[in-house]
């Protein structure tokens, strides 16, 4: 299945394709956690994940066409 991913702010540096927006092919029933493994944002980096505008956690299941928005409550403010 195909997922739309956006890495917001400085997290864009972890993009596998040098763009903050990209599509990623995942196995059916993949989870947010599995997506995280593919993108390789270090575990210690604070981040929040929205799937179609809803807060998600590593066990949230993804579906074909989902929009995943990953951002960091960045340092500073």
């Amino acid at each position: 299945m195909m997922i739309d991913v956006q890495l917001f702010g400085y997290l864009a540096k972890y993009s596998p394709v040098e763009k903050e927006n990209f599509k990623l092919e995942l196995d059916p029933d993949a989870t947010v956690g599995l997506l995280g493994d593919k993108i390789k944002i270090p575990a210690e980096v604070e981040k929040m994940v929205l799937v179609n505008g809803h807060q998600a956690n590593p066990s949230t299941r993804l579906a074909d066409g989902d929009e995943v928005f990953i951002f960091a409550p960045a340092a500073g403010g």
Binding site: F8, G9, Y10, V45, E46, M48, L50, N52, G53, H54, Q55, F69, F71, A72, P73, A74, A75, G76, G77
Partner: protein
């Protein structure tokens, strides 16, 4: 005294008298400073039922004990008065350089009453204050006023002034300092205009005295080292692209970007009003307030024909209000409208929300083109700019816009189309998708504001940890905690942006450990954590007492009917309304208030307010 200068300047404009008085040490400790000091004096000396534009109203400009020190973001001051837009309390906050200069000039606060017979300005030069004629400045825009005042006083002085909007008593006129920074909300500029006071000009010297310099340095090194390391690893989006860079994508993704006068929660043109777009097209340089390591201010320049100009902005709240709320996706037009608001001295948020309200009244046929001086189509950037100018000068239909959205909508028979709480226009977060933010708007002492607590921190950004934005149960407790801690931040003289992330304990209780350290090193007052937390709650309750005496109660802790009864039609929060009444029941219990929202005798006694 340390931190505090220990001096208040009283200005009686009717008599033309200036008087210094000492700041009471116990009052300073109990109310911290800034916002706390403001409400202390308002409660003590002002009848809350007065007409806000009468000479009896008191205009207070108050710094906090940290303002002007080198503690990070210690740049803020608070303007407190009874607001003409709302009839409620007003506390309007601003940063820049003026607040630290006021403090360096020797005063913790200015308490201004009466009305001058002709226009004047207040000039404070290193502790010496005098009133000077301002007839030659009346009618002038903010930048020209500022330039003239600097040339006739001291080029190194700092200016806070009103523009034509304040003089003409536009009910949402701002007090502008350092040209581009605004104490924006609820019409503090109109109160200043009603007093015939055009400006306050200050020049100080030296540093704000610190009680324990070694301790202060140790805290400063520790806090700044941690901040710098974190910012290096994860550069702050606020620094890179400003508030508009952080918030627009987030509100759009959550489906809480108020669009078309809160008829939608997402905006098709949202990418045009992001900080990333602003950076690419118009950013000249970033701007920092005094002692700020973040530098979220944007100095911009627009060259598109019809929208030419330069200045600071837009911030997120400006871009949402003049942009999405009016369906305008032309960033040049939004930025130009922002420049005009700055020059005229207008609150950009109420300006945008009032135009959006007019556009909906027109769209639904309640307002005719004949009355509004031409059609008001959604999304018309040129019309937007024209309406801002007309409002600031009270020209034509602008004279009706100058009264704010509530009075406008009421005039045309549909007050329910004003997106306000206590008649103050709501900020850029649709509370149908952020329940705590909704409760926060409804219970804010100034009306619809995100600055007396900002629940988007926990509901959207996950600070200190994520909470479900659509759940209403249990939110009352969170709102109370954040409101009380924001009272402390506002009173200490700090900015929320640095403080929330760096000076609060990273747990749900958002305890102000970091502020406590700074306050104790700077003032030597040796607050305990419990005393400081209590002071925050005391300030919130003191403000509620003022409101209560002005006639406000639960029936005024409201949100527009649209937000509590019309489900959001689009986006991730589709189908949601705000569960306000349920949350209010919980909130008053958390606060120790009656079911009608009035502080109980026990609560007042506990806080020393009886």
């Amino acid at each position: 005294m340390y931190g505090w200068r220990g001096k208040i300047l009283r200005v009686d404009l009717t008599k033309g008298e200036l008087k210094e008085e000492n700041l009471d040490g116990k009052v300073a400790k109990d109310y911290i400073g800034g916002r706390g000091l403001g409400i202390y004096y308002l409660n003590k000396e002002v009848d809350p039922r007065i007409d806000p534009l009468s000479p009896e109203n008191m205009l207070i400009m108050a710094t906090g004990p940290l303002t002007g020190t080198s503690a990070p973001t210690a740049a803020r001051y608070m303007v407190m008065t009874k607001g003409p837009l709302t009839g409620a309390l007003t506390c309007s906050n601003s940063g820049g350089q003026f607040p630290k200069e006021l403090k360096r000039a020797g005063f913790d606060a200015l308490i201004i009453t009466g009305r001058a017979s002709t226009p004047v300005y207040l000039w404070i030069d290193k502790g010496r204050a005098e009133l000077k004629p301002a007839d030659h400045l009346w009618g002038k825009m903010v930048p020209e006023t500022t330039d003239l005042l600097l040339s006739e006083t001291d080029p190194k002085a700092r200016v806070a002034c009103i523009g034509p909007a304040g003089e003409k008593l536009v009910l949402f006129a701002a007090i502008m300092n350092d040209r581009y920074r605004a104490a924006g909300r609820s019409g503090v500029g109109a109160v200043m205009g009603s007093k015939n006071l055009k400006a306050v000009v200050v020049r100080g010297e030296g540093l704000v005295p610190v009680a324990d310099q070694a301790r202060f340095k140790e805290i400063q090194n520790r806090v700044m080292t941690k901040f710098t390391q974190a910012a290096k690893a994860a550069p702050s989006l606020l620094s890179q692209h400003g508030t508009i860079g952080v918030m627009t994508p987030l509100t759009q993704k959550y489906g809480v970007l108020p669009t078309k006068n809160f008829q939608q929660g997402t905006f098709n043109g949202w990418q045009a009003i992001t900080g990333q777009t602003l950076t690419e097209k118009y950013l000249q340089k970033t701007v920092a307030c005094w002692a700020c390591p973040i530098s979220c201010g944007r100095f911009t320049k627009v060259e598109e024909p019809g929208f030419e100009g330069e200045g600071e902005g837009p911030e997120y709240e400006t871009a949402f209000a003049l942009g999405a709320l009016c369906m305008v996706d032309n960033l040049a037009a939004i930025t130009k409208a922002n420049y005009l608001c700055n020059d005229l001295g207008l609150d950009t948020m109420t300006m945008g929300a009032t135009i959006a309200c007019a556009m909906e009244l027109f769209d639904r046929g309640f307002l005719t083109a004949e009355r509004s001086g031409g059609p008001l189509p959604w999304g018309d950037g040129r019309k937007l700019v024209e309406l801002v100018r007309m409002t600031g000068l009270r020209e034509g239909f602008g004279n009706e816009l100058a009264e704010g959205s509530y009075r406008l909508a009421e005039r045309y028979g549909h007050p329910e189309l004003a997106m306000v709480s206590k008649r103050l226009e709501l900020p850029g977060y649709d509370p149908r998708g952020l329940q705590a933010q909704g409760l926060n708007y409804a219970t804010s002492p100034i009306g619809g504001s995100h600055c007396r607590a900002h629940m988007a921190y926990c509901e959207m950004v996950g600070i200190p940890k994520p909470v479900d934005p659509h759940e209403w149960k249990g939110k009352a407790r969170l709102v109370k905690l954040w409101q009380d801690v924001f009272s402390i931040i506002d009173s200490a003289g700090l900015c929320i942006f640095f403080t929330v992330r760096n000076l609060l304990r990273p747990e749900l209780e958002v305890l102000p450990d970091g502020i406590l350290e700074y306050l104790n090193a700077v003032t030597g007052a040796e607050y305990s954590l419990d005393e400081l937390v209590k002071a925050g709650e005391r300030i919130w309750n003191a403000e509620r007492l003022f409101l209560h005496k002005a006639g406000f109660s639960r029936q005024d802790d409201t949100l527009p009917h649209r937000l509590t009864h019309e489900p959001l039609p689009d986006g991730p929060a589709k189908g949601k309304v705000v569960h306000l009444e349920e949350m209010l029941d919980e909130y008053y219990v958390e606060r120790g208030w009656s079911r009608e929202g009035i502080p109980t005798a026990n609560k007042l006694k506990e806080l020393g307010l009886n």
